[in-house]
Amino acid sequence: MKEVIQDIIIRNSDDYIINMGPQHPSTHGVLRLELSLQGEKVKYVVPHIGYIHRGIEKMCERDTYQQIIHLTDRFDYLSAHMNNEAVCLNVENALEVEVPERVKYIRTILDELNRLASHQLWWCAFGMDLGALTTFFYGLRDREVILDIFEESFGSRLLHSFNTPGGLMHDIHPNFQKRTKEFIKYFRKKLPEYDQLLSNNVIFQMRTKGIGYMSKEVAISYGVTGPSGRASGFSCDVRKNHPYSAYDKVDFKEILDTTGDTFTRYKLRIAEMWESMNIIEQLIDNIPEGDYTAKMKPIIKLPVGEYYQRVETSRGEMGVFIISDGNKFPVRVKFRTPNFANLFVLNKIGSGNKIADIVAISGSLDLVIPDIDR
């Protein structure tokens, strides 16, 4: 890692510049990419962000610790449960509260269910970016089953503020275990269809193989985490390296690859779906009996100090940093969100490719724009 990775963009007045976004469908939200073209080749990519900045970090300073939870749903809405869990774990560790075993197991199962739902939607959208509209319907068909399970237990499908410092809002629904087992059985049959439809498709492979190569050094220096980083050989799985909740009780592999192109990032997410199902199957029958929440005071006051906790969301490492002065409101809350780091590698791995390849590369990074802007 001796070479300094330079990322200086020199703008010339005779560059041909086009804007991709903010309403472009393949940017999955309001992201504007400034592309400088030389013929059909892209010289540089400059992301312009902040179109849906809501100032959540500042809003957290006037909220109590229970009230912060529902704001974290709105970062990466596809991994809402993991974001909630990051704040809850941080507050619980700061107060040195031991949550019941039941809570840890349920949280881990919900994490993995949420990761499955998130990867399914990514698969839909990635196929659609590259022109395969059929994938969108097949992916949403399977995601619907998970969302129905969520709706029964949490009451909402996408933004379920189900965690609270000390445990969960409610106990899981009595049908939860049965329906989750049914889903795993169903999805094990359906996941090979994903390979038949898209992964083995020759047009798809020609558009993704060998494009957007990211080396391990680039991944580390840009802080690219999650499946995108692991496809380059960067071992960054928080679940494995710093286990939280019940991840130390399950046996699972951290999936690594070293090729680092767009197709590898695609294959790695499909492999993660199989691994998530393994984790759920190990836990779903062994949920211990007990309370669904620990005994907490109605007004939580953290001791004076600084606290950091990270979790693995479906897109990478999410960190929560809280500074407390002993009052019921935090002095400063900082969120390290995975998509912010993942976006800015786009210039490094995208420049030199054609415009249509930028769509494939940014799709394989699995960007969620509210997570970048927050």
């Binding site: 709706e151 009451g155 909402s156 933004l159």
Partner: protein, 164 residues
């Protein structure tokens, strides 16, 4: 040698396309396995799950009585200011002036469905409603008064231990 590779690639490509077409073809001739729901047509019979977060409502019994004492804990816990409570003071039969609830105002347009108000309500006066169609033409219609007109506070039967 080159020509074999050339034709091999062509056959591999056709095979991969055929595999994808077989999946879609299977569902084309098995329409029973397609899972789609028509949105407006089962509106009468559609039953949401019991924990469904539609909107915040105040439960009233058959005598038009509710359990809200107007303590303001839900207003305090709401992170968005979507609940406003206007209380009134009346004199009861014993000649004591007590605080009762005049209006429990709920702004559905500001609500983020975090469930903190319902979770912290000490008298379980509010809960989730099952309504899921909230589209209106004027946003002022999303501001609701939760206590029904003419409703009153339910008398506590006696000291009863909490159920939870």
């Amino acid at each position: 040698m080159n020509i074999f590779k050339y034709f091999g690639e062509i056959f591999g490509a056709i095979k991969s396309l055929w595999a994808g077409m077989r999946v879609t073809g299977y569902y084309f001739i098995h329409p029973g396995q397609i899972v789609t729901q028509k949105y407006p047509e089962n509106r009468k019979t559609l039953k949401m799950t019991e924990r469904f977060k539609g909107e915040v409502i105040m439960m009233h019994d058959e005598n038009n009585q509710h359990a809200c004492t107007g303590c303001g804990i839900c207003e305090l816990n709401c992170p968005n200011g979507s609940i406003e409570i206007i209380t009134d003071k009346i004199t009861n039969e014993a000649g004591k002036s007590i605080k009762i609830i005049d209006k429990h105002i709920y702004h559905l347009s500001m609500c983020t469905f975090c469930e903190l108000c319902i979770k912290t309500c000490p008298s379980d006066a509010i809960g989730w409603g099952q309504e899921y169609e909230h589209a209106v033409f004027d946003r002022h219609k999303l501001t609701k008064v939760l206590n029904h007109p003419g409703s009153s506070l339910r008398k506590k039967p006696s000291k009863e231990p909490n159920q939870e």
